[in-house]
């Protein structure tokens, strides 16, 4: 379903939003609609039958899927409700779940991971800032000011750091072919390495920019995959957290160096040996990407 979502030739995917009548959800639904997202349904057990900002509200996921054919869901619910919401959506036949809620319990995330596999579905999150194909659709929080169609595929763990990166690239005329926020939690549905096959033949993408950070082995696993199955396009990475101390969780649940694992050095080394250009700060990354792509065009 992710592959379908980023395919410019494919028809727009029908999306539903769980917890649609909440204050933040309502605000973001309006923003997503404005960006062209095909939101066909909202779910709220208390508001079934109503229409909110032009979107029909259903009491259950099963009703919404039966009436609208929704294939993707965005549960905009509190942390403790993410697992039950995802479970209901999967039972109703949804194929992709994008969870933007921060603070999902780890045990719930492990359960969801197993459920997704059982259903043969896909999950992006936990704590994803969202996904977007600029000019076509966006799911989640990605700010409109940062979105513009262009040649860069942006894969990010972080929210605001990827906003900053996207805005700097945009100011140099480099927008995004697709933007996938994989999230900063320890347990997640989509990891950087999973995105490699989706972008190899993705025609709009000319370069990939990774917004990574300390903790876990996701960047190392990506490097291993890139070494085995080269993307055939240049890959750049900014890695946050080189100044962070060991043993402390740096805000994102997954951003922790412990037992000497998950360090900046280990990630930078692995990515560099896979041919990725690694940076500690955004300005030099942006300069390099702009330079390389201009050279290529000329």
């Amino acid at each position: 379903m992710l592959e379908h979502l980023i395919d410019p030739a494919a028809p727009q995917v029908p999306v539903m939003v769980q917890g649609a009548t909440g204050r933040a959800a309502r605000q973001h639904i309006k923003l997503m609609l404005r960006h062209g997202t095909n939101i066909v349904a909202g779910i709220s057990p208390k508001a079934g039958g109503e229409v909110q900002d032009g979107v029909p509200i259903f009491a259950t996921c099963a009703d919404a899927v039966a009436a609208t054919g929704a294939r993707v869901t965005l549960p905009m619910v509190p942390p403790m409700s993410v697992l039950p919401a995802a479970r209901e959506a999967l039972e109703a036949g949804v194929r992709l779940i994008v969870t933007v809620t921060e603070g999902m319990p780890v045990r719930d995330a492990m359960h969801l991971h197993a459920l997704i596999r059982e259903h043969g579905a896909e999950w992006t999150g936990a704590s994803s800032p969202g996904l977007a194909v600029p000019g076509r659709c966006k799911l989640g929080f990605l700010p409109d000011a940062c979105l513009a169609p262009g040649p860069i595929a942006l894969w990010s763990k972080s929210g605001t750091l990827s906003y900053e990166t996207a805005l700097r690239l945009k100011s140099r005329g480099l927008g995004q072919s697709a933007w996938i926020g994989v999230g900063g939690d320890a347990i997640k549905g989509t990891r950087f390495a999973d995105l490699v096959p989706l972008f190899r033949d993705h025609a709009p993408t000319r370069a990939v920019v990774i917004v990574g950070e300390i903790g876990g082995t996701e960047e190392e696993d990506l490097a291993a995959r890139l070494s085995q199955e080269p993307l055939g396009k240049p890959v750049y990475a900014i890695l946050a957290g080189s100044a962070a101390p060991e043993g402390k969780t740096m805000g994102h649940a997954g951003a922790i160096v412990s037992g000497g694992k998950g360090t900046f050095e280990s990630k930078a080394e692995a990515l560099q040996s896979a041919g990725v250009h690694v940076f500690r700060a955004i300005p030099p990354l942006v300069d390099r990407v702009a330079q390389d792509l201009q050279k290529e065009t000329a």
Binding site: R107, G159, L161, Y163, A240, A243, P245, A281
Partner: protein, 397 residues
Amino acid sequence: MNIHEYQAKALLRQYGAPVSDGRVVLTANEAKSAAGELDGPLWVVKAQIHAGGRGKGSFKEAEAGEKGGVRLAKSVQEAADEAKKMLGKTLVTHQTGPAGKQVNRVYIEDGSDIEKEFYLALLVDRGSSRISFVCSTEGGMDIEEVAASTPDKILSFDVDPAIGYQPYHGRRVAFALGLTGGAVKQCVKLMSILYKAFTEKDMEMLEINPLILMPNGDLKVLDAKLGFDGNAMYRNQDVAGLRDETEEDPKELAASKYDLNYIALDGEIGCMVNGAGLAMATMDIIKLYGAEPANFLDVGGGATKEKVTEAFKIITSDPNVKGILVNIFGGIMRCDVIAEGVVAAVKDVGLKVPLVVRLEGTNVEKGKEIINSSGLDVIAADDLKDGAQKIVKAVKG
């Protein structure tokens, strides 16, 4: 969230795990009667701090004696004396940093005869997204050293949450540890107990080092270190009650009460940022330009004026802070809200060090106007690079 060893053992005992009988004492007066309630003939007196390496650690104060934070005693009086020596003193281990940690609680427990020592842990494996068992015959040692020098002595495997713990998982551990006879059966039961406790209490880490085999063929949990998922505390109120706030940095504690994510560091430049990734990147760039960050601080996505004011107070309460960099990217958050908070905070707390503010995103013009018209001595920055250069220059000259 971490808890003390004695709390971890009490929790595991509730689940039926074999642990020694013990008593925690907070004052020297209690020590003798506590030790007297135990059978002997050997007592173990253990300093309770949230840091590993206690046995190999040393005390700063001479009165505490030359021994580390884990001491053996052969009489009730000796146990009470050792407890008395440690209470209120500062224990330094390889995990506490040079400042050490004050020992406010001491645990006295029955000594055990040891035939063999093993290492055992349950943890959340990020690669497989499952709970993983890790065990080794090299008990009592630092597992990272074992992993580096003799990785073949470590067995690890994960458990499919859809199936859950099965007796064969326990047998794998037992055979890897070289157990035989009744000990295999005990191991299968103990692993099921630990897996149940781990999942029911939303643990992120459970480490038993060492797990011991006694001469009588029984297994026992000799030390236990548990870490819990902070995001699941709402459904584990009993665990939340075990939090010992005296173990935490007072600034980090104050920040957590306002839902701010703050981590104290050793540098001179205080940072206030929204978003964890950007907060880390802000620290990195400060370092890149030749200074050191004094803290990590993520004000979060839903920051209010009050939260920003509190964040400012916490940053300025650190005497090492020689300058402050505020870096806000308004995606969900609005720059004008941050600007109002900064102005209110500066008026409230006063400004004794240079302050650089960099705003970008939603309502950025309004935010800049609020800062500029406040009459405060604030240095404006255009982007993160500019902000970092300006604050480092202001502090270092």
